[in-house]
Structure formats: C-alpha cells, structure tokens
Symmetry: C2
Subunit: 335 residues, 2 copies
DNA sequence: CTGAAAGCGCTAACAC
DNA sequence: GTGTTAGCGCTTTCAG
C-alpha cells in the first residue's frame, strides 16, 4: 500500500498537519519538528501521493499534449521544446498520440479532462464541430498548434504561415526562372499543409501568369512513399516534365528526389525541387534540399509559454505566427 | 470547480453509487436508472475526476517513461512503440525528459512515484548506486531499456546486443579487406554505446591481429558535430588515413561523412564508413550508410509488453536481447 | 507553532 | 437494484 503521511506523523510524533507543512516547505514549523519529520521521511523513503494532493488542491501540475504521431522530426522537436519549458516551470507532460486517427482526438481531449490536466497543447489537423464543442466544454486552457483556428475557436494558436511560406518558396523558384512548376502535396482535409500551402503555390503561379497544370498536381499522404508516388505520376502523366517541383513537405520532397534518381533524372539539373519544413534530414541528402525552415522546437516552447500565461490568467497572444526563412541549398538551379 | 458525481446523482434522482455504477459499466443497474443517468451526463457534459478514482482505487493507469532526449529517431521511435502498445492496453503515458542530465534521473523516478504511475520504462545510460537504491525503494515495476542491467538490478531489461553488433559490423569491414580501421564513439560512462561497442571493435581487431591505433580512436558526445570533429581529429592525427571508420552510431557516422566530403575525400572510395542504429536518415544520405539495424519501435513495444506482464504479475522475460542485422548499403568498398 | 476536523470526488462493501 | 457509509491520502481552516 505504501507508506502515508499518517504513519510519518506517528513515527515523528507530530500531527499530519505538521508533516504536511514540512513537505510543502511551509514556515510556521519549529526547527525541531521539521528536523524530526525530515529524518523520518529520509529513513522510510516516504514519497507523498500526489493524487491525494492534487485532488484536495483541485489542481494538477500536468500538461496534456495531443499529437498525431511522435516519431517524426516535426513533432519530436516540438515536444522537446514543450518538455523544456514545461519542466522549467514545474509541469509534467502527459502525452497522447492519436496515431493520425482524427476521430480519436475527441477521446483524448476527454481523457485529459479526466486527468484534470492543467492545460492542453493540441496539435490539430482538422477542427470539426465536435472538436469545437468538446474544446469549449472541458473548460481547460488549450493552445492549438499547427492550424490557424483564430476565427473559429477562442483559443490561442501558434502556427507557421503556410500560405506565405509556400508563396515565398514558389516565388523563389519563379525567381530562378522556372515557369513550369509541379506540386506534390497532401489531402486537403489538413488546412495548413493541405490547403494553405497549395493555395500559396497557386497564388504565385497565377500572379505570374503561369499555367496551373492539373496533371502536374498530386495529393496524397504525408509519407516519403507518397512523395515518390506523386513524382512517378507526374513523370508518367506529363507531356513535358516540369522544370521544378514544389513539395508541400520536405519528406515528400525527399521521396520525389528518390523517384527522380531512380528514373534516371538528375536533381537539380533536370528537375529542381523544394520543400517546406527543414527536416533534419534535408541538409544530409544529396542534393541538399532547399526548403523553408520551420523551427518546431521554438514553436513548442512558445506555445508552452502562451499556455503557461493562459493558465496563470496573464495576457495571452491570441495568434502567434512563427516566422520562417528560406534555406538555400542545392536542389534548385537557374533555368 | 467542475461538476461532480454528486450533482449528477441529484439531477438524475439517484444515489452517487448508482452513478458510479453506470460510469463504470457495472451491471446491477436497472435500464431505467442507467438511461436517466446517461442522459444527465450527456446534458451536463460531466467527465469524472480520475484523481479521485485513482486515489480511492489506489492505482492509476499511467505509465512513466524516462528518457534522455526526445527529438532523436531512436527515442521517438521507441516512444511511438510504447505509446502504441500502452494505448492498446488502456494506459497513458507520462513523459519525462532528463535532457541528458543523468543526475536528474533520480528526481524523475521520484516524481513518477509521487504520481503513483503503474509502471516505469526507463531508458538508462549509466546506473549508479543511487539509481539502484531509488529503483528498489519506489516499489514500482520498472523495465530498463538500452542497458544490460541484468547482473546489478532485479528488473527486466531490453537491449540490443551492442558488443555483438559492433563485432558484426567491424567483422564486415574486415571481411571487405580493411586492415586499418578507425573508431569514433562516445564517452564510456555510457555502458552500451560507449563501452560495449568499443569493446566489440577491439575484439575483432585483436582477433584478426590488426593493430589498434590510438590516434585513430576518438570519443566524445552523441551529436553529428562530434562525429565531424572526431573525423577531423583522425584526419589530422593520422600518419596514414585509415581505410575504414567504425562509428558507434549512425549520427556519428553521418557527421564523419560530412567531414570527409568537406575535406575532399570520397566515401567509400577513400574511406569506408559504417555505423550502428539504422537511423531513418541513413538510407537517405549519399552514400547510403551501411549499418546495423536496431528496431527501436519494436524494442519499445516489447519493453511495454514486458512491463505489462510485470504489472499483471505474469511471467516476465528478465532480459530480452533484440536482434539486429547488418544493412548493406553503399558506404563500404572492398579493398 | 501545532493539532483536530472537515472534506476534495470517487469507489466499494454492506445493508436494505 | 439501490442507497448509506466509510474511507483513499492529503491540505487547509480554525482553535488553542
């Protein structure tokens, strides 16, 4: 059963209250009593039960984190950032992984409420009516990461500006003389990655009076394989191969590069490629990938800070747009 | 404050017990009562407080995970595996990150005890007397990952056989004709990575009557930069460049490759390189890295299963050695 | 400075 | 089938 405060009290010949006081570093305890209690604690190896404490206090020091996947550099970096700043502030992290199953998110939200977490960091993909309803009901500070929910939800969010990033990097391609640019992205249920990045791409093409060629647009999942398959489709379906490809994520870009190599094309000599995200792999592949850097660790840290402020009823940034920058490497050539 | 079981009881015009029964899917509740209670719960959005429940039951369904870093493919994959199998079995994960600070481990252990986690998955690096003492005192099922603690600790562990893996991959180098093989590793306070892998390397050289050349041995941290620096040192200090390098981890190997390239050497034409770990980056770099595959996701899953058995007082594998295999890619040439 | 007592929200006998 | 009761281990008034 484990030893309790009551037994410590008995052994130290004081009351529970006194033991509680020394545990919680309260003043108003005589040195003598404190010493005795500490000694007993030391001897017995007593470790207080925070369930009881949290119940009584009606608050925990646990932060819930909901993410769709963990073994990916985006999320694990963000979690590292979260973990850093939460640890510094005395909070622990309860991790829940929806494994890309959006339906599960609602359950995870409820689970975290059951645990009475003090706040939630929610890596959102899509946000349905049911999400909104649950989020509002649970009455826990939440910060949304990765999706701009500022006009549908009354919670702070921290995002990268996907539309602008896509514009920038596609603009970079245009500036390098590319006029025929293909697109490999993900399904559009994902607002940030699926829709915004595609729209940024389209905006730049339209702006520059370049043709948007449907058979050079491909959308599927997030995996490297999707990137590979996308590139393959574009190769097979194109009358004329695009001179450049904008991939919505680095991972996709890497898959595409692999495909091009397999098919005997050279990157960037035959086809230039860019991505978004600056995955840790990107500088290591050949050619090193030109991309847009998103600092996920920093995003995690910032989001944590916002959540902390929220919890402490301080002023809160409603929408933090992380800035991003183009990282020029080797996968684009002038044309 | 949140709504409680008591209020649900009142609204549904039944007792707390009945509400508790329907929440916990107990039989012995009339359909009528159940329906009424469920309706009230639905209407109010009531979500039970698991702190109270866990306190009363004297058990939680959360598992503590202690790791030294999260944004690395080794750990995030392991956590993915853990998360998968724990989720399937109705457990949640409390993550604690020591950020490579070994001294912190003891505190994290205590913290998890406070939270009364049901079991702990502990990614160990070194295991000191204090560790042992704490581990034994907290009286919680623990499974150790990454270090063979079978003769000092009475807890199950799951490991990769680092000695044998190192032997195998260095043997592979020897089989390809290499006689002058350098080593880039990590400090030896880390038993598995620092000591065992080095010993495996030395064993093979000795066995084959090859010279162990101290200026071609370098030890430092785990980062890519360490690999780079290590390679640089070896280049600078060697009378004659080794024909092959065994790096204790893929990350180190990748750093070393980068250095070689920067210095104008070709891999594997000038120097062959191998690593251990099969990081997800390894097949993507140029040249693709020949290495030993460790399946960390699987290791996480297996360790979880062992922990679960331990918790349920079923029989437990005391020491699970995950097998590993050489993945032949492009970074080694015959000499 | 210290102890007694009440109670956090819930479960689990035990009666009815 | 259902309600009553007694805590789980702790904090927190409130007296003394």
């Amino acid at each position: 059963m484990g030893i309790t405060i009551k037994e410590i009290a008995k052994l130290a010949d004081v009351s529970k209250s006194t033991v509680s006081r020394v545990i919680n570093d309260s003043e108003h305890v005589s040195d003598e009593a404190r010493k005795k209690v500490q000694q007993v604690i030391e001897e017995t190896g007593y470790i207080p039960n925070s369930l009881a404490k949290d119940l009584q206090r009606n608050k925990t020091n646990t932060i819930g984190v909901i993410l769709p996947k963990i073994n990916t550099s985006t999320f694990s970096s963000a979690v590292e950032g979260i973990s850093d700043t939460m640890h510094e502030n005395g909070y622990n992290i309860l991790l829940t992984n929806t494994r890309l199953n959006t339906k599960e998110e609602i359950n995870h939200l409820k689970l975290l409420k059951e645990k009475r977490v003090r706040g939630i960091l929610f890596f959102a993909t899509e946000v349905t009516k049911e999400h909104i309803e649950t989020l509002e009901r649970i009455d826990i500070p939440v910060v949304i990461l990765g999706q701009d929910t500022s006009d549908i939800l009354d919670f702070p969010c921290v995002i990268h500006d996907d539309f602008v990033s896509a514009q920038n990097i596609v603009g970079y391609l245009v500036a390098h003389g590319h006029k025929n640019i293909g697109y490999i992205g993900v399904e559009e249920y994902d607002i940030a990655v699926g829709q915004l990045r595609k729209k940024g791409y389209e905006a730049v093409l339209t702006e520059n009076n370049l043709e948007i060629n449907e058979e050079q647009i491909y959308k599927d999942g997030f995996s490297m394989e999707s990137g590979y398959k996308g590139m393959l489709e574009i190769i097979n379906n194109s009358q004329k191969l695009p001179t450049a490809i904008f991939a919505a994520t680095d991972r996709l870009a890497i898959g595409a590069i692999k495909c091009l190599k397999d098919k005997g094309y050279q990157v960037p000599e035959d086809v230039s490629i860019v991505g978004i995200g600056d995955s840790d792999i990107s500088p290591l592949i050949t050619p090193e990938l030109t991309t847009v850097r998103y600092d996920h660790l920093q995003a995690g840290a910032k989001a944590s800070q916002i959540l902390l402020n929220y919890i402490n009823k301080q002023e809160v940034t409603e929408k933090l747009v992380m800035n991003s920058q183009i990282i020029e490497r080797e996968s684009v050539k002038n044309v």
